[in-house]
């Protein structure tokens, strides 16, 4: 079989990764720079027995996805900042009710309508904390087109495994960029699916151990007749106002993700072993950063590159370990320093964290990061 080499756009790769993972329901609302994802789903899903629907807004889109996931479908929606904000309430619903769902957020300049549709990375914190209450989510950030495919696939694996919303935090540059991608052999895909119960007898929809267990999920329409509610609920699914039930539930949901933080950690590292100055970034900013780090190395400077692919849960242990020997950490990001806050929290106390924020709607030029690197030595 010939190698499956393609010239692909980031959004196309995201969609193909999702379809490879078994995506069979998409609901969305048009918004640049994410719209190609909806367009490709509208074209492809009917061919494979999937369903597409263009909803009346982003709130309806994520709601329809959750409804579809409850019937056993693998679901996804895609949007950008304004639409992502509208989806937040239902991200909380999916977190609490433990409904697998994948959301692609292709970031653009904000706040508000901003400067459509220049790139930005201002949703780093929104992706984690956008909905109210303590809640579990996983956030992945592709750094090139191939990773759009891989992380979109992985988002389904994790979403189905942990029954959480998984957000793929892309940006306008990564999503509209075209690159050569070598796709894996479709026969190698292992399509993920949530663990389901065997029989309705004695089924308790939220029975799980308190150490962050994941309950079995019965599809609607198969005789289980269970109750799904956004109210706090006990293991039978019944609404509960008891302090003990609420405490156990919120802690289990949190533990479900935090106890697996190391397994969820994913990053790209280059020249980190002896790096005195580390550039730590994600997404499109990391492309310029990597170029600058390589130039610095050529110039004899001990620079290193750390690009996060898992943003949340924040990879505390990995960042701490990999930056242990660095005196300075430069954090280029297309916002005013959201990732840098986590780096400050995580890095050793003597490390100097330099916020290299950019909010003019333009991508970093490698020169900008290189200049910051030179100054840091």
């Amino acid at each position: 079989m010939a190698e499956n080499v393609r010239l692909m756009q980031g959004n196309e790769a995201c969609t193909m990764g999702a379809i490879a993972a078994g995506l069979d329901f998409y609901a969305g609302y048009p918004i640049t720079p994410s719209t190609e994802i909806a367009e490709i789903c509208a074209e492809e899903l009917p061919k494979v027995g999937g369903r597409f629907i263009q909803m009346e807004d982003e709130i309806g889109s994520i709601a329809a996805c959750i409804g579809a996931s409850l019937t056993g479908r693998k679901v996804m929606t895609a949007t950008s900042g304004p639409g992502f904000s509208l989806m937040q309430e239902s991200i909380g619903y999916a977190s609490l009710c433990e409904i697998p769902i994948v959301i692609i957020d292709v970031q653009r300049m904000g706040p508000s309508t901003g400067m459509p549709t220049s790139p930005a990375q201002g949703d780093f914190m929104q992706a984690r904390w956008g909905t109210h209450g303590d809640h579990p989510v996983i956030v992945l950030a592709p750094g090139n087109v191939k990773e759009c495919f891989e992380l979109s696939f992985k988002a389904f694996v994790l979403s189905e495994k942990y029954r959480v919303p998984v957000i793929v935090l892309a940006d306008e540059v990564i999503s509209h960029m075209r690159e050569k991608v070598v796709l894996p052999d479709p026969r190698s895909y292992r399509i993920p699916h949530r663990a389901e119960p065997d029989s309705p007898a004695g089924y308790k929809p939220y029975a799980a151990d308190q150490d962050g267990g994941v309950p079995l999920m019965a599809p609607f329409g198969k005789g289980y007749r269970w109750h799904c509610t956004g109210l706090f609920h006990d293991e039978t699914g019944a609404p509960s106002g008891k302090a003990s039930v609420a405490d156990a539930l919120v802690r289990r949901l949190d533990r479900k993700i935090t106890k697996n933080a190391e397994e969820l950690t994913d990053y790209f590292a280059e020249d980190m072993e002896d790096a005195e100055v580390v550039v730590l970034s994600f997404g499109a900013s990391a492309m310029a950063a990597l170029s600058a780090v390589r130039r610095a190395r050529k110039a004899g400077l001990k620079a290193g590159m750390l690009r996060l692919k898992t943003l949340w849960p924040f990879p505390d242990a990995a960042v701490r370990k990999l930056t242990a020997g660095a005196g300075t950490i430069i954090v280029p990001e297309m916002n005013l320093g959201q990732l840098a806050l986590e780096v400050e929290r995580t890095a050793h106390k003597d490390a100097k964290v330099i916020k290299l924020g950019k909010v003019n709607g333009e991508l970093f030029h490698p020169d900008e990061v290189f200049t910051a690197l030179k100054e840091a030595f």
Binding site: P46, G67, A68, Y93, H227, P239
Partner: protein
């Protein structure tokens, strides 16, 4: 009686509704309609939003989905579009349906998606203790309308009809036989069906407006309504200020999931050799 208890999750009772609330009457009518039609319990998904009305689904023994405020129809659209063989029923309040959920309501009607929607319209936000809603009659009191509601109210049946619903009826918690009858017809209709039910909220609407308790409120509802059949022979003078009840609209119109299935079948015939998963490019390297 006993056979209807089979549709309830007895362990979840007693319910949270106030004494004299009309929502139980509507829930009872729905259960009797389901029983009469002999629908399969395992094939029904009941969806609700937020508010007093939304609690109905938690007491009923089906797959039940208690969602966010105003979004029940959007969640239900996902369920129905995924599995068109399921019977999907939505229960909403007036604020839930017509204020925060108004957009989903008109678009579900426009698509004519096969969902049966029961609106429990008590003209007030009960769960938050008595604020005026889009169906509070002009001039009446609410905690946020202390000098009388200055806004015009929605006619939800006219709205549903104009937006494309294929079955629209109105009943009340006083006219229980009619209520069950139109729910049955709505369940049978293949398309977006709306049954608006005027119900009483003695705790907030009745008390605030000094109408009285449940009995006085039911009489108040009865006196404001007139059956559409009787209305046909009444003078405009006599009909002034009256709300029509009964079957208000029924039309043949193609249904969304059926139309989608037809489109998908056509696409699948066209791409019969398609292997799936990679835009048909598994074995070439263009």
């Amino acid at each position: 009686m006993a056979e209807f208890l089979d549709y309830f999750r007895m362990e979840r009772l007693p319910h949270i509704w106030c004494p004299g609330c009309g929502h139980g009457t509507v829930t009872g009518a729905l259960v009797r309609a389901i029983d009469k039609l002999g629908l399969d319990k395992n094939n029904i998904v009941l969806v609700s939003g937020i508010g007093c009305s939304s609690r109905a689904v938690g007491y009923l023994d089906f797959d039940t989905l208690h969602t966010t405020h105003g979004r029940a129809l959007a969640f239900a659209t996902g369920v129905k579009h995924s599995r068109p063989n399921l019977k999907v029923i939505v229960m909403m309040g007036d604020g839930d349906c017509a204020a925060i959920g108004g957009n989903h309501f008109i678009h579900a009607a426009r698509r004519n998606i096969d969902i049966t929607t029961i609106i429990m319209n008590n003209s007030i936000y009960g769960m938050t203790s008595g604020q005026y809603s889009p169906t509070t009659p002009q001039g009446m009191l609410g905690t946020t309308a202390p000098y009388g509601n200055v806004e015009h109210e929605f006619d939800l049946c006219e709205l549903a009809k104009a937006a494309g619903a294929s079955y629209v009826a109105r009943a009340t918690s006083y006219h229980v036989t009619l209520l069950q009858e139109v729910i049955e017809k709505a369940l049978v209709n293949k398309g977006f069906s709306v049954v608006e039910t005027l119900t009483q909220c003695p705790t907030y609407f009745g008390r605030k407006n000094k109408i009285g308790g449940p009995v006085e409120l039911l009489n108040w509802i009865k006196d404001r309504t007139v059956n559409v059949k009787a209305a046909a022979v009444m003078t405009p003078d006599k009909l002034k200020g009256k709300i029509l009840i009964g079957e208000l609209h029924k039309v043949e119109r193609s249904e969304y999931t059926a139309d989608y299935n037809e489109m998908a079948a056509k696409v699948q015939r066209t791409f019969a050799t398609y292997e799936g998963g990679n835009r048909g490019c598994a074995s070439n390297s263009d």
